[in-house]
Symmetry: C2
């Protein structure tokens, strides 16, 4: 049993995680929110108090912290007696926060892969470049570190594990599909940090096909699916974190990630990218100012958190899994639909942040209760999927399944028993 | 008779002006080229020597100069005994270079309106905001200052004056049409300084219609014409310098400027503009660096001078003039066709720079010879048009005319005599 949560970061995802941790402070204990900008942490605290989101009276405090500073982070973990750290700050912070957790024994949770600000799209598998180098140390010290516990990566990894271990006898392909069918009403905006958002699309698109890494360019490969609620949608083969762990942890030959983009997004992205304005390499102006173009683009775009009040529509994120079940070629779609307005009403954030923040809080609860307190480094698909999805359903992220028997709410009872070959390859069931 | 020319600036237009001044150094005397970056001036000198463009042996020297520094500019004018200054540097320099000329007595020539870097699109007439405030001082001191002596503004003003004074009895409308039908082979580039280029299109589009200033937005109004050589072309109502002097100096109710843009240019421009990346107002990055977005866009775009070697195709710039002649409603098109490859072969610059730089050198020759040495401030339409167009024809910018009698080379003899009411309104004939 672990308790007291330190949330690092103060963007939209951090806000959602903080709300959801507050709603479960009977289990999770004290709540501390820390980021570079104290006022952002204070705004989240104020929002939680205003919405009376704390389940019971308890500590909810804001802190100023440069989480690149490992010693400062360790000091704050110790000072706040935090046994669980939810790192939902910039993707550049993972290694320093993980280091602080390994040194203090606190459990570590993040929602996205570590990135080096100077590098875009490193060679696969991405987790092998940074996180997995610390597997041995976590194991030796008994430190729990759950990687990629947002929605994608995160819940979609659990969907994949559910399909591989509890539904199919053999999985042939997993296609993860992410569609934001919402509307923020602006000319153009990204739904989270523009810098991280664009960096996803400027490098090589790595996918796992026929059991090996395959390289494509962004917007080179597309598919169109008729999806529940959001309808017919075109998505594009995109490089994404979860492909890099699922390909190592599940015995599945084809694992791909597809993201939906409208023509307008693609046009704006293409213009900026072709001109070199999405580059992470500094340029020098005629006046001698050295600046990274991508950081200037970020400065002119709307703050993603500012979009939430006006956001309408829904998100679809799911796994389309194909394989053999009882000797028959079978297709299973496991998915979630979230609503931007409902997310805002509950947590002051839109559904993109909501779908990423709720799972991080759920992971904290499962660690606190011991079910996910694995005392080692694990990606989500290595951990029990059924209790995670069951808990998420009660926390605002219901799972649905669609197969030959129809479209229905996820019922834990239906997926209770492990089955299939994939269950025995990589990870625990 | 004035002689010795100081050219300020070292971009494409300056290079063309320098080549053309060199080709007439028997009339113009010593040639000095000065800009912030000495190496650029030296490169122009080297190009002229390599192409053996000097008509006769003479002084051709490069100088480092910050032309915002009036005293330094005056010192260089005096030191080089320059009696004519061709200002083809940044549009932000006009007022300081004009001041240096008024203080030293040197004749002043420029090719574009003065701009304040902090302001985009000031109220009309633009010349009234800066240049014309010095009319009285020029008159009093007898300083010759020829404003806007490039192609547009410049030659198109002479075309308008030619039509109004030597062809029509009454002019009803002047539509200036500028089409670059060339291809630079890059994804996107501007043909001159991106900062100045984009600033033309981000503000209000001012045109002179029915005898008053009319405001539109960029790309709001378009026309399509079947033009000589370049064929059917769509152009867009655009704010431009010459409309601001022609409306004051000619008694013509409708004066408009139209610029040709391809769909690709418009798309890139629209994306950058809508995102705020063409703003002249500084933004601050998350890391605290203050920078003007437009200057970052300039830094990532190709250097306009780098386009010249690969540029193919032609430019069309002309005046479509309508009015009464001998009691009949008549239409006259006065125009020039220039070729990018021919311009590069002769002056190491493409045709956009060529069409702007040659007229500035021609203006210097007419001042040197006395024909344009008017001892006051004048826009091109106030000065004799026929000798200017005659000289330009011999310097590589032939004028053609098209009316009911057909399409033919401009013949000075046909336009010798002044006629028409417009000849008596504003300016000299």
């Amino acid at each position: 049993m672990k308790k007291n949560v330190l949330i690092i970061g103060a963007g939209g995802v951090a806000q959602v995680a903080a709300f959801k941790v507050a709603m479960h402070n009977d289990v999770l204990g004290d709540i501390h929110i820390a980021s570079r900008t104290l006022s952002k942490c204070q705004a989240i605290v104020a929002g939680i108090l205003e919405k009376r989101a704390l389940k019971r009276p308890g500590i909810l405090a804001a802190h100023q912290l440069d989480a690149m500073d490992v010693e400062a982070t360790k000091a704050l973990i110790r000072q706040t007696k935090s046994q669980i750290v939810i790192n939902v700050g910039s993707a550049f912070l993972n290694m320093s926060v993980l280091r602080a957790c390994m040194d203090t024994g606190a459990a570590y949770i993040d929602t996205a892969i570590h990135e080096d600000p100077e590098k875009v799209c490193e060679p696969p598998p991405w987790y092998g470049n940074y996180e997995w180098k610390h597997r041995e140390e976590c194991e030796r010290k008994g430190v729990t570190a759950v990687l990629g516990a947002g929605f994608d990566p995160g819940v979609v990894n659990a969907y994949a594990a559910l399909a591989a271990r509890h539904y199919f006898d053999r999985v042939d392909s997993i296609d993860i599909i992410d569609v934001n069918a919402g509307n923020h009403g602006r000319y153009f905006a990204t739904n989270f940090d523009p810098e991280i958002n664009f960096r996803e699309f400027t490098g090589t698109v790595w996918s796992w096909q026929q059991g090996q890494w395959t390289a494509n360019k962004m917007f080179e490969v597309q598919r169109t699916d008729d999806l529940p609620v959001v309808g017919s949608r075109t998505t594009y083969l995109t490089g994404h974190d979860e492909v890099h762990s699922l390909s190592a942890n599940l015995d599945v030959p084809d694992i791909r990630f597809w993201m939906g983009f409208g023509e307008h997004y693609i046009n704006v992205f293409t213009v900026l990218n072709k001109l070199g304005l999405l580059s992470e390499k500094p340029v020098v102006t005629a006046e001698g100012i050295e600046v990274v173009p991508l950081k200037v683009v970020k400065a002119v775009l709307p703050d993603p958190m500012s979009l939430a009040p006006d956001y309408t529509g829904k998100t679809f994120i799911g796994d389309l899994v194909k394989g053999m079940r009882d000797g028959v070629e079978t297709e299973l779609l496991v998915y979630n639909i979230s609503d931007h307005e409902a997310a805002y009403a509950e947590t002051n954030s839109q559904a993109i942040s909501y779908t990423a923040g709720v799972p991080a809080a759920a992971a904290a609860i499962l660690i606190a209760k011991g079910e996910w307190d694995c005392h080692r480094m694990a990606n989500v698909e290595e951990l029990p999927a059924v209790p995670f999805l069951d808990l998420l359903g009660r926390m605002g992220l219901p799972t649905r399944v669609r197969d030959a028997d129809g479209d229905r709410a996820f019922d834990p009872a239906e997926f209770r028993e492990p089955r299939g070959k994939a269950a025995r390859v990589g990870g625990v069931s």
